[in-house]
């Protein structure tokens, strides 16, 4: 698959079919991959495909001029489609190199299971549903659902629906919603006051680094409401009230664009379970409007479209 990707990417650049290639190169640390944005055809030799290519590359699309070839997992492709729906991108300007994705390995989960930091591990290899972790010469075996990201377990689209070049056999979706939605389900059972306290506690850790916003392909506003000063919607100081409001508004603003790719939770430096927010919004939108973001290129964006009869029970 990697070989095919490199050939295709090189050919695209050589034949001037695209100006840029966005993909993954080996990271500088163990078990990482780093985004690679290049217009140099020799760079394509560095492209990799592995279970650690966590970033959602669609985030880089809006910043580039010209035609772009992009390596896309299922989740990335949904973000790309969502950008196309919103007219941030033209379908002709992007060449999607589709990677059928078996799910990405969450190093934090591996660390917790093995009890060692990631740099103390020697090897992580995956064979089908089995993941083998080697540390100090000892091998430990886990099932995929133990070590994959929660959002990968909930994945509804491992193979991009919309693509130009498919790099291997498509994978059928097999979402494990129960395992992936445990935190949210537990939270939903608690009384409202308790839930508010939960989020208050979680968000009191927030340092307002805005990593969640910057990494989000759905957050593409030129000027974000948090930086507005007239009127000033939020105080910039990291106080829990403002932190929580920031997350509430951010989630409402990306409703119908958020594809539950889980990037915000992954990048959070203080481990706030943001996916329990985004997933709820994803579910609300699905339940109320039967809308799944990034699934259908022809669909109207959620918030600019309407039906004559819908969602009336919120109104008197």
């Amino acid at each position: 698959m990697e070989q095919k990707l490199r050939q295709e990417a090189k050919a695209l650049l050589e034949h001037k079919k695209v100006d840029w290639i966005i993909g993954f190169a080996p990271g500088s640390l163990k078990f990482t991959a780093t985004p690679l944005i290049t217009n140099d055809k020799d760079d394509t030799e560095r492209l990799v495909i592995n279970p650690f290519m966590v970033n959602n590359l669609a985030d880089f699309l809006t910043g580039l001029e010209g035609r772009v070839g992009i390596v896309a997992k299922g989740c990335d492709s949904r973000s790309i489609i969502s950008l196309i729906q919103d007219n941030k991108l033209a379908r002709e300007d992007v060449v999607i190199l589709a990677v059928p994705c078996p799910g990405l390995i969450d190093l934090a989960k591996v660390e917790r299971l093995v009890g060692k930091y990631r740099d103390e591990l020697d090897d992580i290899s995956r064979d089908g549903d089995k993941v083998t972790v080697t540390a100090d010469g000892q091998k430990k075996e886990f099932t995929a659902s133990q070590v994959l990201f929660d959002h990968c377990l909930a994945c509804e689209l491992p193979t991009p629906q919309e693509y130009d070049i498919l790099l291997s056999e498509p994978r059928p979706p097999a979402p494990e919603l129960e395992t992936s939605g445990q935190n949210k389900a537990k939270l939903k059972e608690t009384p409202p006051a308790e839930r508010w306290r939960f989020w208050k506690n979680e968000l009191s850790r927030c340092i307002r680094c805005y990593a969640c916003r910057n990494v989000c392909p759905a957050c593409f506003c030129q000027r974000c409401f948090v930086e507005e000063t007239e009127p000033q919607w939020l105080m910039p100081i990291p106080r829990w009230q403002d932190n929580l409001n920031f997350q509430i508004i951010r989630n409402i603003h990306v409703a119908g664009r958020c594809t539950d790719c889980g990037e915000c939770e992954r990048v959070c430096p203080v481990n706030i379970p943001l996916r329990s927010l985004t997933r709820e919004m994803y579910d609300i939108v699905g339940e109320l409007f039967k809308f799944k973001s990034g699934m259908d290129r022809e669909a109207q964006p959620l918030m600019v479209h309407y039906e004559q009869e819908e969602a009336e029970d919120s109104f008197r």
Partner: protein, 152 residues
């Protein structure tokens, strides 16, 4: 010592200028009685109401927010209230999930000829808010909070 007055909820209303605001006017001119708990902000259309307004109002200590616009199909700008409907529905559900009492965000369709309905809606919403008590969502104190603190 002055006597502690009975707590009254503070309600912020975003009324569309074409229907609900005129409806409120009619409620006044036809001398309908409704609670004075509502403070009204006139907006060009219910579609103008961003969720930011709602959250900010709660953050500033309002006990509840009422968004009111023209009935579906009657929007002066044709589609504004349909969009408001989607936005409000999503906001309401999401706030509920976070643990905000559903009574705090209310929405209604009130046309310019429905002064009576406007009075009814405001009384209902105010009663609902009296049921859930003062907004202490964003206050620092956990136990005591007779006074809803204004933020920022």
């Amino acid at each position: 010592m002055t006597q502690q007055p009975e707590w009254e909820p503070k309600l912020l209303g975003f009324l569309c200028r074409w229907c609900s605001y005129a409806g409120a006017d009619l409620a006044g001119t036809s001398r309908k009685k409704y609670p004075a708990n509502i403070r009204i902000i006139k907006v060009p259309c219910s579609g103008r109401v961003d969720s930011l307004f709602i959250i900010k109002a709660l953050r500033l200590g309002f006990d509840g927010v009422l968004v009111s616009g023209c009935h579906p199909g009657d929007c002066h700008y044709l589609t504004g209230n349909y969009r408001a409907r989607r936005r409000i529905a999503v906001t309401k559900k999401f706030l509920e999930y976070l643990g905000v009492e559903p009574e705090r965000l209310q929405a209604s369709w009130v046309s310019a000829s429905e002064g009576g309905k406007f009075a009814e809606v405001v009384s209902d919403v105010t009663d609902g808010l009296k049921g859930v008590g003062p907004n202490r969502l964003f206050s620092e104190s956990k136990l005591d909070g007779t006074e809803a603190k204004a933020g920022s």
